[in-house]
Amino acid sequence: MAEPPDQGHRWWRLGEQERFMLLLLLPAATVLVLFQIVPILLGANASFRDWTLFSPKKTWIGLQHYAYVLTDPSFLRVVLPNTFLLMVLSVSLSLGLGLALAHYLDRRFAGRWLIQTIILLPQMIAPVIAAMMMRWSFNDQFGVVAAFIDWLGLGSIAWLAQRWPSFCIIVFTDVWIWTPWFALILLARLRSLPREPFEAARIDAAGPWRTFTHVTLPMLRPVIGVCVLIRSIDAFRTFDVVWILTGGGPARSTEVFSIYTYMEAFVNLDFGRGSAAAIIGAGIILVVAGLMYKAVNRGADVSR
């Protein structure tokens, strides 16, 4: 502060620009701190305490809840595998189908608007309703799928009474909801790609498949990376679809992380243990997402 700053640097020194930035940030940051950061810290605090609805003593018990959750066979052998399986299957299937749909839509044809409207619907409808639809369609007595299978003479499958059929329906529903999201984002990017590489591929007599794998896909890679990252984070916390379709059943065999935490906190009414599960899950996805973010960033510059 000894020498007078020159004009160009003045507002840096006075912090006028920083003040403006902080004021712009103030409303969002306030809401974030009050309703997300503070509650998460309080939840972290609760996870170290003996805190159930029936005995809210809130005595400090250290890491006992963490030890319980991390050694709970159902958490390790059912919940975690289910969560990651749902994440991997849902993201990869909806990415594949979304890519195909994007290519399908990337043409001029009669009724294109109508098809796009129909494809958009699953993404706009509440996941709760989507899950209700699927639950009804796959109803083992009166559902349309059951009727169709019966008509084929294959007998009946009690879809929602067994682990893997239930799990397949959960994955199917999630893919149904999220394929349109991939399709529309990839379609927008397909349309903004430069024409020249495609013309070059045509001149080199590359077929559609080779053009796709050698020209389109490499150019789409950055946006695919970002989509997969965002979708994986969201798939990890899936709740609505599983809750409505199976409620985690039969016999807690389709529970995913969010359902497990909900069960501990609001069915077993053990807020301490629920909070510990919540923190463990948040930790897991933060590590996974961090690794994925690194991979995506290495693959393409998306730090924008």
């Binding site: 920083e18 403006f20 930035m21 712009l24 940030l25 409303p27 969002a28 940051a29 974030l32 309703f35 997300q36 950061i37 503070v38 998460i40 309080l42 939840g43 290519h103 399908y104 990337d106 001029r108 409207t117 129909i118 958009l120 619907l121 706009m124 509440a126 309703i129 989507a130 639809m133 009804w136 369609s137 109803n139 009166f142 559902g143 009727a147 984002i185 927008a188 397909l190 790609l193 430069p194 495609f198 013309e199 077929g207 559609p208 989509c227 984070i233 916390r237 709740f239 609505d240 809750w243 992380f257 969010s258 935490t261 807020f271 629920g274 919540a278 923190i279 899950g281 933060l286 997402a289």
Partner: protein, 283 residues
């Protein structure tokens, strides 16, 4: 027309093996599959909602249709109240969360340095935290504060839900607006706030409207926060529906009617504001 859709006079590879007619048949088949897959479940739900209670069990035959289910659902007081609650909540939460995030998005777009970097890190971090890890302690907080099952107890968290996501999206909107107009305004003696509010903001309004529509729909469709943070007084439409599914497990005609009513806004928005929605869906 778009880049990859070059006029394909001589398709090669597997597509080239098909005659032009075969190619057309393949596309027609794809169209049918898409219709069946994406429209099928919705159609079944709508048909079920129009069936009398005894006829849903025979969904694949019979021609009896009725509007009685809708009448019955709309005559249920808890359902109508849930619709009103959801409508008010979605509208208020959208207005507030857009208002709160527009300036932070502008900040992210126009400045560099430690403050935007820190905010970016915060956004990435808290965008990743699963909802359950956050709504569970929120429940404890609302309970201790005595605002559980009140309108404040559900509105305030719903404003916070999208802070991270919307800040990020808003940055994208402002990135698409050339800042040279703002520099010109600053040189002409306009204040920084003037440059933001009177120069940059009006150009961003269409994009913000698009985000507003999506935000409204997200809140209308939201389930987990509603399930945990609302009780009898403030029941929302998604939770009321879920209760129908688990409690009235057999009355599919009524549940379908309610679901059809609840997806009304989604359908209206998809049909009439599709370009806005697609603009808002960017990442």
């Amino acid at each position: 027309m778009s880049a990859p859709a070059l006029p394909v006079e001589t398709p090669r590879g597997w597509a080239g093996a098909l005659a032009p007619g075969g190619r057309r048949a393949l596309l027609l088949l794809a169209t049918l599959a898409i219709l069946l897959l994406f429209l099928g479940p919705i159609v079944i739900l709508v048909v079920t909602s129009l069936r009398p209670g005894w006829a849903v069990y025979y969904i694949y035959r019979g021609t009896d249709f009725t509007l009685q289910n809708f009448v019955e659902v709309l005559a249920t007081e808890s359902v109508t109240r849930a619709f009103v609650n959801s409508f008010v909540l979605a509208t208020l939460a959208t207005l507030f969360s857009i208002a709160v995030t527009v300036s932070s998005g502008y900040m992210l777009s126009r400045f560099t340095g430690p403050i935007p970097r820190t905010w970016f890190g915060t956004i990435y971090l808290f965008r990743t935290v699963p909802y359950i890890s956050w709504v569970l302690p929120l429940y404890l907080v609302c309970y201790e504060l005595g605002i559980y099952d009140s309108y404040a107890g559900i509105l305030l968290p719903h404003i916070a839900v999208h802070i991270c996501f919307f800040s990020w999206i808003m940055k994208g909107f402002f990135d698409g607006i050339d800042p040279s107009m703002e520099y010109a305004a600053l040189i002409d003696g306009c204040s920084r706030w003037g440059a933001f509010l009177r120069v940059a903001l009006p150009s961003a309004v269409p994009a913000i409207a698009a985000l507003g529509i999506l935000s409204w729909l997200y809140t209308w469709n939201e389930f987990l926060f509603a399930l945990i943070l609302t009780g009898h007084n403030t029941a929302l439409i998604t939770v009321t529906m879920a209760q129908f599914v688990t409690e009235l497990g057999t009355q599919w005609n009524l549940m379908s009617a309610m679901a059809v009513l609840a997806m009304g806004p989604a359908i209206l928005i998809t049909v009439f504001a599709q370009s806005y929605v697609i603009r808002g869906l960017r990442i």
